[in-house]
């Protein structure tokens, strides 16, 4: 079981490393979107500090959305996906492997970049830490839920726009608790509750989402 998972993750990571610019595009998109906000709302430090968590989180949602269409599309176009559907190993596991690789490529860089962006918005010590922790817990959920949308819209006209319509409403709880945790810890209320809920959502998504994505892939590819 683990061998299948490992094999899928390594394969997708190797493929991603061959097209490094794709990975960098997502990260730079994230940085640019975050940087646009101060230009839009003005440079008042107090206002920016209050908005920081929300802005970084919304940018993370959009960035992970941007890379979703690539999750299955390349494999679908060159026929690999059909072969993957035929292998005796569980499809949910294969999907989980692909999602994990997608998270390492598009989610983890955002987690790593977030303290830097937080600093630009004037966040300090604990809040930066909290921002990183929430993103660490939340970005895998984005990849997991996004995989369902990506699988459903495989090979459709305007799939990219459609996937955002399907998936963004489902991202809302993650956004609320993620940004809420940072705000709550900044207000000195403690963010344990938020973090526990994010953990619960992550576990729930980890169990159900690969299965739903596998079902969606079977519908889309048959």
């Amino acid at each position: 079981m683990l061998a299948t998972l490992r094999c899928m993750v390594m394969r997708d990571l190797t493929l991603a490393m061959r097209h490094r610019s794709d990975v960098l595009t997502t990260v730079f998109f994230f940085i640019i979107v975050v940087s646009l906000f101060p230009l839009g709302v003005g440079p008042e430090a107090a206002l920016l500090k209050e908005m920081a968590a929300g802005v970084v989180w919304v940018a993370a949602l959009l960035a992970s959305m941007l890379s979703l269409t690539r999750l299955f599309a390349d494999d679908y176009n060159d026929g690999t996906l059909e072969q993957l559907l035929l292998v005796p190993q569980s499809l949910s596991l294969i999907v989980l492997g692909k999602v994990l690789a997608h998270w390492i490529i598009s989610g983890l860089p955002l987690v790593v970049m977030s303290p830097l962006l937080g600093l630009q918005f004037g966040l300090e010590g604990d809040e930066l830490m909290m921002l990183m922790v929430t993103l660490l817990l939340g970005t895998p959920v984005l990849s997991l839920l996004g995989a369902i949308g990506a699988a459903l819209t495989l090979g459709l006209r305007g799939g990219g726009v459609l996937v955002s319509l399907l998936v963004l409403p489902l991202y809302i709880p993650v956004l609320i608790f993620g940004a809420g945790a940072v705000t709550a810890s900044a207000a000195g209320m403690g963010a344990d509750g938020h973090l526990s809920l994010m953990g619960a959502i992550l576990l729930l998504a980890l169990v159900l989402a690969p299965w739903a994505s596998a079902a969606a892939l079977r519908i889309s590819v048959e």
Partner: protein, 248 residues
């Protein structure tokens, strides 16, 4: 023995749906007339909100229906996945536009009600926000369905989306509620649960009549729509051709 699956075939369901739609349509029209008369003339003026509160008689049923229809839609989608009946997915897709319409009505009348009562068209209250998200879910369902050309794939894909959505609805609802209580001590409170206890009996009856009017309307419209969907998808079937011959 009564065979549950007899009417799961589009050919047998088509005439039944026609008869049921007429029945529910008439019932809905009668109830709507009674309900509107009661809400405009019989229900007393509210001591706090004056005449403006009367918009409640369409707002509350619409909000209830918008939530109920999503759940019913997801149940049809689940039935379609489990038994692979064509009709179930057709029912799911026939309900979606009505559900979206009621969601929109609930939001729109809510805004109209909110302006005189709270002084704002829109507040980021938990109920309003989750209703808005529900609208997004309906739109996503319909967008996915219309983006896929193959009707079988469209039905199954949108069915799966409805199921994913219905698991998420409670999570979204509670997260929005907690977000609201954590973020802002709102000066405006949507008293909805409180309305019922303070409502006079006649108001409750009016509300019930209006709710059933909306309910029957939904059933009638969904059945009409499913008849069109059946004809469209089964256009190659011999019974449809025979039916069309008959009509000519």
């Amino acid at each position: 023995m009564f065979n549950l699956f007899k009417y799961s075939s589009p050919a047998t369901f088509y005439p039944l749906a026609g008869r049921l739609a007429v029945g529910f349509g008439i019932a809905s029209a009668i109830l709507l007339v009674i309900g509107l008369y009661m809400s405009f003339f019989v229900a007393p003026t509210d001591y706090k909100q004056g005449e403006g509160y009367r918009i409640m008689f369409i707002h509350v049923p619409a909000a209830w229906m918008s939530m109920l229809i999503y759940v019913v839609m997801a149940c049809w989608a689940a039935a379609g996945m489990i038994w692979h009946t064509r009709l179930s997915s057709m029912m799911a897709s026939s309900l979606a536009p009505t559900g979206a319409m009621f969601t929109f009505i609930a939001l729109w009348t809510g805004a109209l009600w909110g302006k005189p009562m709270w002084g704002a068209w829109w507040v980021w209250d938990a109920r309003l926000t989750s209703e808005l998200i529900l609208l997004f879910l309906y739109v996503g369902f319909m967008a996915l369905e219309s983006a896929i050309d193959d009707p079988r794939r469209a039905a199954r894909a949108s069915g799966l989306l409805a199921l994913v959505g219905v698991i998420n609805v409670p999570i979204i609802y509670y997260s929005v509620q907690w977000w609201n209580t954590l973020h802002q001590g709102s000066s405006i409170k949507v008293v909805d649960g409180g309305v019922e206890t303070s409502m006079s009996e006649i108001m409750v009856w009016t509300l019930l009549v209006m709710t059933f009017a909306c309910w029957f309307y939904t059933i009638a419209v969904a059945l009409c729509r499913v008849r069109s969907i059946i004809l469209e998808r089964e256009s190659g079937a011999s019974w449809v051709k025979a039916l069309l011959q008959e009509r000519k």
